[in-house]
C-alpha cells in the first residue's frame, strides 16, 4: 500500500467512526453490523430492511419502555 492509499484508508475509517458516532448519539446503531450479525447467527431468517431497522431503533429509543431518549439534566 502506498502512503497516499494508507492515508486515504485512515481518513475513510475516521469518517466512518464519526458518522457511526453521530448516528449512535441519536440511538441508531450500525445497520451493516446488524445484517452481518443476522446472517451469521440466524442463517435461515431474513434481516429487517433498512427502513424497518430505522423505525425499530427509533421506537426502542423513545417508545414504550424506551428510556434512552431521556436526557440528563
Amino acid at each position: 500500500m502506498t502512503q497516499a492509499e494508507s492515508l486515504r484508508a485512515r481518513w475513510a475509517s475516521l469518517a466512518r467512526c464519526v458518522c457511526d458516532g453521530a448516528r449512535l448519539m441519536v440511538g441508531q446503531g450500525n445497520y451493516d453490523a446488524y445484517v452481518a450479525h443476522v446472517r451469521r447467527t440466524h442463517p435461515g431468517s431474513e434481516p429487517m430492511t433498512p427502513t424497518a431497522f430505522f423505525r425499530e431503533r427509533q421506537n426502542a429509543r423513545y417508545g414504550i419502555g424506551g428510556r434512552g431518549g431521556f436526557r440528563c439534566c
Binding site: 467512526c17 458518522c19 457511526d20 458516532g21 453521530a22 448516528r23 449512535l24 448519539m25 441519536v26 440511538g27 441508531q28 446503531g29 450500525n30 445497520y31 453490523a33 446488524y34 445484517v35 452481518a36 450479525h37 443476522v38 447467527t41 434481516p47 433498512p50 427502513t51 431497522f53 430505522f54 423505525r55 425499530e56 431503533r57 427509533q58 421506537n59 426502542a60 429509543r61 423513545y62 417508545g63 414504550i64 419502555g65 428510556r67 434512552g68 431518549g69 431521556f70 436526557r71 440528563c72 439534566c73
Partner: protein, 686 residues
C-alpha cells in the same frame, strides 16, 4: 521502562496543572486569563485519568479484557452490539451532557469563579467520575441491568422501591426546573419565543421527511433542519423589530408557563417519529457542535475573567440563590462535578454496547471528565462578562427592580458598579428589550457565549445572533428533555398505578396513557408554576431542590457501589466510594435540613411560609401575592416544598441505612457474595 520514563511526563503535567491553579487562585487585584483555568482543568483530568481511574480499574474492578461483556454474550445486532470505543464514548457523552453542566456553574459564579472551579475539579475526580465508572462497571457485570434492578438485587426489594420512588421525584423536579429555565429565557422576548416556537414546525417537517420521504437519512434531515433553524433565528430579528409581529410573540412568564404545560402534554402523546425524534437529532448535534465551538472560542479569544475569584457572597447573602458556601455550593453545581442522574445513563444503553471490559474506564471515567470540562467552560463564560451585568441579569426583580436605573443602583450598591446606560446597551447588543432579572442561568450563559463567539466570528454586529443562537440551543434540548421526560414519567406512573389497577399498565390504550400523562405534567407543572410566580425568581426555590435530589441519587448510586465492593471482598479499597458517599450525604442532609428549618425566610421554606401566614392572619398582602388567595397559595407551596425536601432527606437516610446493613452482611460473609452474571468467569473472593 524506567520509572522516570514512565512517570516523568505525567509529573510535568502535574506540575503544569499545579502552576496554573496557583495562578488562578492567587491572581488577586488583576484579571486572570481564562486559559489558565483551562490548563489547570485539563492537567487535573489527565492526571486523574492516568492514575486514579487506573487504580480503580486494576484494584477494585480488576477489569478483564478476556471476559465477555454483555454485548458479546447477548449480541443481537440491536440492543447488545459490541461497539467501537470512540463511537460509544460519543453516545455516552451525548446522553449525559445536558443543560445541568451549563446552568449550575453559571449560578455558582455569584460566589466568584474559584469556589466553583475547585468543586468542579475535586468533585469530578473523586466523586462524579468514580460514580459513573463504578455504576457502568456494576451494570456491565450484570448484563446491563438498570439502577433500580441493581439496587433491588444487591440491597433488597424495599431499598429498590425507595430508590425508584426517589428517581420519579427527581424527574419531576428536573422537568420543572428545566422548563423554568426556558420560561425565564423567553419571557418578554419575541425574538427568542419566535425561534423556539419555529422549532416545532421545523421538527415536524423533518419527522415527515424521515418517516416517508427518505427514512433513515439522519444526516440529510439534520442539515435541512439546521438550515431552517438558522433562518428562523435571522428572521426572528425581523419579528422583534416589527411591533405588530412582536406583539404576537411577546408573552409573560405565566403565559409561557401554561403554554409549556400544554405543550408537554400534547408532545408526549404524539408519535415519537413526528416531533421528539427529529428534534432530538437537532438538539444532540447542535449541543455537540456548540460545545466544540465554545471550546475553540475560549482557546482563540483567551478572554480575561472579569468576575472576582471570590465574592463577598460566600457568606450566603447572595442575590442569585441564598445559602452559605457549605452546603449550597455543592448542590448548586451538581452536573459537572457529580450528578446522580448519570447512574441511570451508565446503567442504561451504554453497558450493553461495550465491546471490551477495559474500555469501561475510558467511557465511564473519561466521559464524565469531558462533561466536567463543559461545566468549566460554562463557568468561564459566566465569568468573562462584566460582574455588574451578571448580577443585573441574575438578581430577582424584588432586589433590582425592573428599570435600568433601579437595577444599576441596586447592583452598584452590592459592590459591582454598573451604569444604567451599560445595562441598556447590553440589552440592545443582544437584541432584547431588557436583560434585568433574567434568572435561570441560560440568558447569562448566552450573553457570555455571545461575547466569546462574536469576538471570534462576526464581531459586535453578530452578537444578537449568537445570543439567540445560544438561547435556542438551550431551549431546544430542554424541550426535548421535557417531552422525553414526560413520556418516561408516564410509563413509570403507569407501572406504579398498574400495581393496584392492572388495566393501567396497558401503555397502548388511550385512557390510561392520557391519565398518566396528565398526572405527570400536572406534577412538574405545579412546581413550574410556583417557580414562575416566585418573588425570588423561582431559581432560588427550585434549583436547590433539584441539586438536593440529584446529589441524593448520586449518594444512592455510590452506596450501591460501596455494597458491591464489600460483596466482592475488596473492602480495603472501599474508601474510594465511601468518602464521596459521605460527602454527598453530608451536603444533601445539611442542605435539605436548612431548606426546611432555616430561620432565614430566603433559605428556609417553613420560615417563608410562616412569614406569609403571619401576614395573612393580620390581613396584609405581601408581594408578589395580590390577594389573600394567592397568599394562602404561597404558604401551601412552601409547605409542599418543605415536605419534598424532607422526603429527600428521608430517602437518603433510608438507603444509607440499607447500604450499611448490606455492607456489614457482606463483610461478615466468608466468601464473595456479589451477584455478577456468569460469576465463574472470575475467581471468587481474594
Amino acid at each position: 521502562m524506567t520509572a522516570i520514563q514512565k512517570h516523568g511526563p505525567w509529573a510535568l503535567v502535574g506540575a503544569l496543572g499545579a502552576a496554573a491553579l496557583a495562578i488562578v487562585a492567587t491572581g488577586r487585584g488583576e484579571t486572570v486569563n481564562a486559559l489558565w483555568i483551562v490548563v489547570a482543568a485539563v492537567s487535573v483530568y489527565l492526571i486523574a485519568y492516568r492514575y486514579y481511574s487506573l487504580f480503580i480499574a486494576d484494584r477494585i474492578m480488576r477489569l478483564d479484557p478476556a471476559r465477555p461483556t454483555p454485548a458479546r454474550r447477548h449480541n443481537d445486532g440491536l440492543d447488545y452490539v459490541p461497539t467501537d470505543r470512540y463511537v460509544l464514548f460519543g453516545h455516552h457523552f451525548a446522553a449525559i451532557a445536558g443543560a445541568g453542566p451549563l446552568v449550575g456553574p453559571v449560578l455558582a459564579a455569584q460566589m466568584g469563579y474559584l469556589p466553583g472551579l475547585l468543586w468542579i475539579l475535586a468533585g469530578v475526580v473523586l466523586a462524579g467520575a468514580v460514580q459513573d465508572f463504578m455504576v457502568l462497571f456494576v451494570s456491565m457485570r450484570r448484563d446491563g441491568r438498570s439502577l433500580g434492578e441493581l439496587i433491588r438485587a444487591e440491597l433488597g426489594t424495599i431499598p429498590g422501591i425507595v430508590a425508584l420512588f426517589g428517581t420519579f421525584l427527581i424527574m419531576v423536579i428536573i422537568l420543572a426546573v428545566l422548563a423554568l429555565i426556558v420560561v425565564k429565557a423567553l419571557a418578554e422576548s419575541p425574538w427568542g419565543t419566535f425561534t423556539v416556537m419555529a422549532t416545532i414546525p421545523i421538527a415536524i417537517l423533518m419527522g415527515v421527511y424521515s418517516r416517508w420521504i427518505r427514512p433513515g437519512r439522519i444526516g440529510e434531515v439534520s442539515i435541512l433542519g439546521f438550515v431552517l433553524l438558522m433562518a428562523a433565528i435571522v428572521y426572528g430579528q425581523t419579528v422583534a423589530d416589527d411591533p405588530r409581529l412582536a406583539a404576537l410573540f411577546t408573552f409573560t412568564g405565566t403565559q409561557l408557563c401554561w403554554m409549556l404545560i400544554g405543550y408537554g402534554f400534547v408532545a408526549s402523546i404524539l408519535p415519537v417519529w413526528l416531533l421528539l425524534a427529529p428534534r432530538d437529532y437537532l438538539s444532540t448535534f447542535l449541543k455537540i457542535g456548540t460545545i466544540v465551538g465554545l471550546a475553540l472560542g475560549i482557546l482563540v479569544l483567551a478572554p480575561h475573567l472579569q468576575m472576582p475569584a471570590v465574592t463577598k457572597f460566600v457568606d450566603g447573602s447572595g442575590p442569585v440563590w441564598s445559602g452559605s458556601l457549605f452546603p449550597f455550593l455543592f448542590i448548586t453545581i451538581a452536573c459537572g462535578s457529580v450528578s446522580g442522574f448519570h447512574s441511570l445513563i451508565a446503567s442504561g444503553t451504554t453497558p450493553k454496547l461495550i465491546d471490551n471490559e477495559t474500555n469501561a474506564r475510558f467511557i465511564g471515567y473519561g466521559g464524565m471528565l469531558m462533561e466536567s470540562f463543559v461545566a468549566v467552560m460554562a463557568l468561564v463564560a459566566a465569568s468573562v462578562i462584566d460582574p455588574g451585568v451578571y448580577f443585573t441579569m441574575n438578581a430577582p426583580a424584588a432586589i433590582v427592580g425592573t428599570t435600568p436605573e433601579s437595577a444599576s443602583a441596586a447592583v452598584t450598591a452590592m459592590g459591582f458598579p454598573i451604569t444604567a446606560a451599560t445595562i441598556q446597551q447590553t440589552a440592545a447588543d443582544v437584541g432584547e428589550h431588557t436583560v434585568i432579572s433574567r434568572a435561570g442561568g441560560a440568558p447569562t450563559l448566552a450573553v457570555g457565549m455571545a461575547h466569546i463567539i462574536s469576538n471570534v466570528v462576526g464581531g459586535k454586529a453578530m452578537m444578537a445572533f449568537w445570543y439567540h443562537f445560544a438561547i435556542l440551543f438551550e431551549a431546544l434540548f430542554i424541550l426535548t428533555a421535557v417531552d422525553a421526560g414526560t413520556r418516561a414519567g408516564r410509563f413509570m406512573l403507569q407501572d406504579l398505578i398498574g400495581v393496584a389497577v392492572p388495566a393501567f399498565k396497558d401503555t397502548a390504550s388511550w385512557g390510561p396513557s392520557i391519565v398518566a400523562t396528565a398526572l405527570c405534567v400536572a406534577a412538574w407543572g405545579f412546581f413550574l408554576h410556583q417557580g414562575v410566580t416566585d418573588p425570588l425568581g423561582g431559581v432560588n426555590t427550585l434549583w436547590p431542590l433539584f441539586g438536593i435530589s440529584n446529589q441524593m441519587l448520586a449518594a444512592i448510586a455510590l452506596t450501591l457501589c460501596t455494597v458491591v465492593i464489600f460483596k466482592m471482598k475488596r473492602e480495603r479499597y472501599a474508601l474510594v466510594t465511601i468518602l464521596p458517599t459521605l460527602w454527598l450525604a453530608a451536603c444533601t442532609l445539611t442542605a435539605g435540613w436548612q431548606k426546611v428549618f432555616a430561620e432565614d425566610p430566603r433559605v428556609g421554606f417553613l420560615a417563608h411560609a410562616d412569614r406569609y401566614a403571619a401576614a395573612l392572619a393580620e390581613g396584609k398582602v405581601l408581594a408578589p401575592a395580590r390577594d389573600a388567595a394567592q397568599m394562602s397559595q404561597i404558604v401551601l407551596n412552601d409547605r409542599i416544598d418543605a415536605g419534598l425536601a424532607l422526603l429527600f432527606v428521608g430517602v437518603v437516610v433510608a438507603v444509607l441505612g440499607f447500604g450499611i446493613r448490606a455492607c456489614l452482611a457482606a463483610y461478615r460473609a466468608e466468601r464473595w457474595t456479589a451477584l455478577e452474571a456468569d460469576p465463574g468467569a472470575v475467581p471468587a473472593g481474594e
